[in-house]
Every structure is written in C-alpha cells, then in structure tokens.
C-alpha cells in the first residue's frame, strides 16, 4: 500500500501544489511544512520546466522564477530528503517528461525512492506513452498518477483500470489557472471511474475558492489547488509561508465543514 493512500484515509483530501524553487528552495520547504500544518493531506511539487505546455500564465511565471533561482533536480531531491526529516506527508512531483528523460529514468526513479517521494504526475505522458517509465516506477514503488480529462470519454475505462496512487481528474478544458466557474459534468465522470477502480479521485484545475473546494470534494475524494497557492507565493515571495498557511487552512476548513454538514443531512 503506497503512502499516497494515507492522504485519503481521514476523509476528503486537500492537495496543495507549488513550484520548487519559487522564489527559492528554502521558501518552498517552509511553505510545504506550513501547508501540512494547515491540514494539507498531500503535497504536489512542481519541477520547473522551460516550456510547461499544460500550465496557464500563473504557473508559467512560477517556472520562470524557479529556473532563475537555478532549481534543478539535484536540488529538489535534496530538499525532499531534508523535508523527510520533519514530515511523512505524501509527496508527488509534477514534471514534464523531458527533464526526467534527460536525468535518466533509472536514476530519477531510484532518487525518488531514496528521497521517499511517493508519486509522479507527468502531464505530457498520456496512457499511450506511459510504458516509457512504468518499469522503473514499479521497481521503485513510485506511483505514476494518471490524468483523466473532460474529453477522455471512452478512454476513462482503460486509464482507470491501470491507475495507481490516485486519479487526477482535470475539472475543465484548457490549462491550469483559477476559474470562476467549472461546468464539466464531473459527477458523471467520477461515476465512470468508480465503475473501474476504488483508488481515490482528486479534482484539479481552476479551483481557488473554499466554496468550489467544498462542492468538488463532495463529489470526489479530494481537491488539488495550484495556481491560487502559487499566486500567493508570487505576491509575498519569501514571506509567503504564513499566507499560504492561512489560505490552505480556509480551504481545508471548507472541505471539513462540508463533510460535517453532510453528516447532519
């Protein structure tokens, strides 16, 4: 059983994303610890890439700031090893495939294992190409997280069947970034996934308000919030950990109170 399942064992999960090295790796570490303190259940660490094609402008800018602070894989693994002295919170990386391919699959996955990183999300590695890394992932007990999108339709079955860790359900069309409204029929998609697998389903892309988090966690196993957190880091820089804490706490509370109100119904 992977450590990722621990993120979902105490009710609905809050998954927080930030980009490693934005604005520097020390701030990243502090933000992660603060997120955990505020109730986050899983941390998604973005590995900066020059050309993040699935990201909107907020996370694109974070990537540029992180690359400017010379945040590369060696430094990120070191940071996770350091964090592991203080926390067992499940950690997954979000990375584009090229930095991993370039680092070498064997070396990358064994470094993941060594740093006790639990999983990996690779937006540009769809089902058809996941064999690139699957052997290395399996040998090192790293979960490669599958994404399912509003356009996945007939692909949901095959993806869900082979999914591990959790399923990242993309809430809406387009790239990452805060949205005022999410109109996809996510309930139906979650239902189709449930027909295939029991692993948790977390919804991401566009979520930024407590109200959205409360509603979406009701129809799934958790929510993933990225751009809203990255915006806070963009605004407050080195001083952001406290502000990230407050924000994550408000989101986690919304999810929790929603669960309580469910019980009262």
């Amino acid at each position: 059983m992977s450590n990722i399942s621990n993120a979902f064992k105490n009710g609905k999960a809050f998954i927080g994303f930030l980009t490693a090295g934005d604005p520097d790796i020390e701030t990243t570490k502090q933000c992660i610890l603060k997120m955990e303190e505020a109730g986050a259940d899983l941390i998604e660490i973005g590995i900066p890439f020059s050309d993040p094609i699935a990201e909107g402008s907020v996370i694109q800018s974070a990537n540029i700031r992180a690359l400017k602070s010379n945040t590369f894989l060696d430094k990120i693994f070191e940071a996770v090893i350091d964090l592991r002295k203080k926390t067992d919170i499940p950690i997954v990386f979000l990375t584009y495939i090229n930095p991993v391919f370039n680092y070498g699959y064997e070396r990358f996955f064994s470094d993941c294992k060594e740093s006790k990183t639990d999983g990996l999300i690779i937006p540009d590695l769809p089902f058809e190409e996941k064999h690139e890394v699957s052997d290395y992932a399996r040998n090192n007990d790293i979960d490669v997280i599958s994404l399912i999108a509003p356009t996945s339709d007939n692909r949901i079955k095959q993806i869900a069947k082979e999914a591990s860790g959790f399923i990242y359900l993309v809430s809406s069309m387009g790239v990452t970034g805060v949205r005022s409204e999410i109109t996809t029929d996510l309930k139906t998609i979650v239902g189709l996934i449930r027909e295939q697998t029991d692993i948790p389903v977390a919804i991401g892309f566009g979520i930024n308000t407590p109200k959205q988090a409360a509603y979406l966690s009701k129809i799934s196993d958790g929510v993933i919030v990225g751009s809203a957190i990255v915006k806070i880091i963009e605004r407050y820089g080195k001083n952001s950990p406290e502000y990230v804490y407050e924000y994550v706490k408000s989101m986690k509370n919304a999810i929790k109170s929603n669960m309580l109100s469910n019980i009262s119904i």
Partner: protein, 395 residues
C-alpha cells in the same frame, strides 16, 4: 499498438490527456479521407487551380556555369500562391478540418509564412483562423502580421518564453486544449505528436513527387543529391520523401548555425542537440544539461526552432539523410548570390540550402545533378537583409 505512431524510436504522442481523443479523432479522419476520392480530387483541384501547382523545376544555368560543377536545379516552391511551400500542407489540413466539421483553425507561425498560408486557406474555405506568433517574430516580420490580418485572421502575440516559434507552438497547444470541439490545430511542420508529422509529410510530399517526375523527364536520370533547409523540417521532408527509396540520391538537410555552432546563438538541433521529448514528440532538441529547452537563434525566423521533426531524426539515425549547419553569414551571401546570378530572391530560410549547394556543387562532377528546394520567396526578408548589411530602409 504504439509502433505505428513512431519512426523507429522517434515520434509518438506525448501530449496532455485532454488532447488525446482529438488526436485520435484526427488520425481516424485523416486515414479515412486520404484514401477517399472526393477529398483527393478536391485537394488536387485546390493545388492546381489555387496554389498554382505543379511548381517549376528550374535549371539554374548561370549558377551552374559560375560554380563549375554539378548541374543545379531549383524546385520553385517560392512560386506557389502565398510564396512558399507552406500552402501545400495548409490546403490539405484546412480541407481536412472542413471534412471533420470544424469551424475554426489555429496555427503557430515563425516567419509568418505558415500563418499567412493558414489565413489564406481559412479565407478561401470559410473557416475562422487564429494565429499564434512570438512577439520577437511579429517585430521582425511585421508585414506578415498585417498580411494575416488582411486575410481575416486574428493574430495573437506570444510574450511568454523566448517569444519565438517554440513559444508560439506552446501557446497554440494551450489554446487547442481549451477548445477542441470545433477547432483543428493546423500545425505548420513535420513535428508535434503523431499523426501530425505524417500528415504534414504526406501533404508536402507533392514536392518530391513532382520533382522526381520532372527531373526524369528533363534529364532522364535521378539527381545525385537533393538539398533543403530544415527548421521543423517540412519542406525538407517533402523534398526527400519520394527519393528515400532511391538509395543513390543523397538527402541533405541544412539547419541554421546562426552565428556559429560553437556559439550559443544557433538553432542547429541535429549538430548540437540530443534526444529529448517535447512538443508531443521524441526527437532531437537543443537543450541544456538539465533538459530545459534551449533558447535558439537564427537570422531566419522560420528555422528558429529548437527541435526537428521525428522522421528527420529517424532518417539521420539510420544514415539515410545527413544534416549540416549553415551560418547566418553564409545564408545571407547565398541570398545575395541567387538574386544576382539568377534574378531569384529566395527566402532567407531557403538561402541556407542554396548556401550548401554553392559549397558542394563545385566539388561534384559536371554530369551530376543537384536539386535545391527553394521553399519560399524572399520578399519578406528584404528589409532584414538590408539591415544585416547596415542599410536602413522603410518596409
């Protein structure tokens, strides 16, 4: 199941899940229409009566005499409507978009040639058209920006990253992932995820289909070499394709060496890059030691791309094609040389191929033949070349 998306180990479909069904849909539609009589005849009609095909295979007699070696022929893609080979692909893809029931096409552009061609096809076929172009390219090719707008397209200036072709592709892919239902991404080169490298190659292969027939008719034999410039590699793939099985014909791609391959100002992915996965494909890319895609440079906006199409990477890996790098300076000299000797002003992209022909023709025998793909005309480049030579002129 994956094998048919690749050329050897290159190619594939490395794109976000959100695009996968649309890419499969495109693959299916293309497989159906490419063998369908009405699609084939409509496209043939457009190529003949709108684009002006077949393009000439012109014997460059002055150049041949002056260089004193192999006979040089120019495949005149510059004479196509819109002034480059890009129209071949765009008419095919825009027609395909219509057959698929799409109302809108989007495209990236570097020099603006593909953008102009896409806007042209959209105007003709009644499709909405939006073009993504790096800010730096909109400045150095401002005439083409206006041209696209004149044709009814909306031009988005891309200010992310290096503000050139690579970033325009990023932005077009982002836009496509927002809206696939009524939109086809009409990619401009033999790159991106499968099936694009195959589709674009098929539509561009008309270049070598004609050229092979033409040279056999004119000379009764095959050329010793065909030469084409390579950014993503669409005119080169089109020029190579029907000669691949003719083992005696050397296939030579000319990539942009910019200020020199030993500087950090070049776009020579075959010479200086290594294998990677980007823009949906496994291929060869200019990248740093961490796998970050490198900023590239060339005087030619159309060759200013950090990668190369996967079929080129494959042809290179099996030794069937070879790739050499040509500097800005060599290309500018060739630009001027062809203008003066033949009265033909080539696109600065195509001038890279002309430059290599100038180098290699004198070393070859007089009964040998070279075909150079003159992928586009140079009107768009005149102001930039004047500036390169220290002359300031108003466009």
């Amino acid at each position: 199941m994956n094998n048919n998306t690749k050329f050897g180990e290159f190619g594939g479909q490395y794109v976000p899940e959100i695009l996968m069904n649309e890419i499969k849909n495109l693959e299916k539609s293309y497989e159906y229409h490419k063998n369908n009589g009405s699609f084939i005849s409509e496209l043939d009609d457009l190529l003949k009566n709108y684009a002006g095909r077949p393009s000439l295979l012109y014997f460059a007699e002055n150049m041949t005499k002056d260089l004193g070696g192999a006979k040089i022929y120019l495949k005149r893609e510059d004479l196509n409507h819109t002034g480059s080979h890009k129209i071949n692909n765009v008419l095919g893809q825009a027609l395909l978009a219509k057959k698929m029931g799409k109302k809108r096409i989007i495209a990236e552009t570097g020099a603006g040639q593909h953008g102009v061609a896409a806007a042209t096809a959209a105007a003709l076929l009644g499709l909405e058209c939006e073009i993504f172009m790096g800010k730096e390219d909109t400045l150095r090719q401002s005439l083409n920006v206006y041209r696209m707008e004149l044709l009814g397209a909306k031009v988005h200036t891309v200010e992310s990253g290096t503000q050139t072709l690579k970033d325009a592709v990023n932005e077009a892919m982002r836009e496509w992932s927002k809206r696939t239902e009524d939109t086809l991404y009409v990619i401009g080169s033999v790159m991106g995820p499968h099936p694009f490298p195959m589709i674009v190659r098929d539509f561009q292969s008309v270049i070598s289909r004609e050229a092979r027939e033409q040279i056999l008719k004119l000379e009764g034999k095959l050329p010793s070499a065909v030469i084409a410039c390579v950014g993503g590699g669409s005119n080169a793939m089109g020029m190579f394709y029907n000669f691949i099985n003719d083992k005696s014909v050397k296939l030579i791609g000319c990539e942009a060496a910019g200020l020199g391959v030993n500087t950090d100002k070049h776009a020579a992915s075959m010479t200086k890059g290594r294998m990677g996965i980007f823009h949906g494909m496994k291929s060869i890319f200019c990248q740093d030691e961490y796998g970050q895609i490198a900023p590239v440079y060339s005087i030619s906006a159309g060759l200013d791309y950090p990668g190369i199409g996967p079929e080129h990477a494959y042809l290179n890996s099996i030794g069937r094609a070879s790739y050499i790098a040509v500097t800005d300076d060599e290309a500018v000299c060739a630009f001027e040389y062809l203008s003066k000797t033949e009265g033909i002003i080539p696109a600065i992209e195509s001038a890279h191929a002309v430059a290599y022909a100038m180098k290699t023709a004198p070393l070859m025998k007089k009964d040998e033949i070279i075909i150079v793909c003159l992928s586009g005309r140079g009107d768009k480049d005149v102001a930039a070349i004047a500036k390169y030579r220290g002359r300031k002129i108003n466009e």
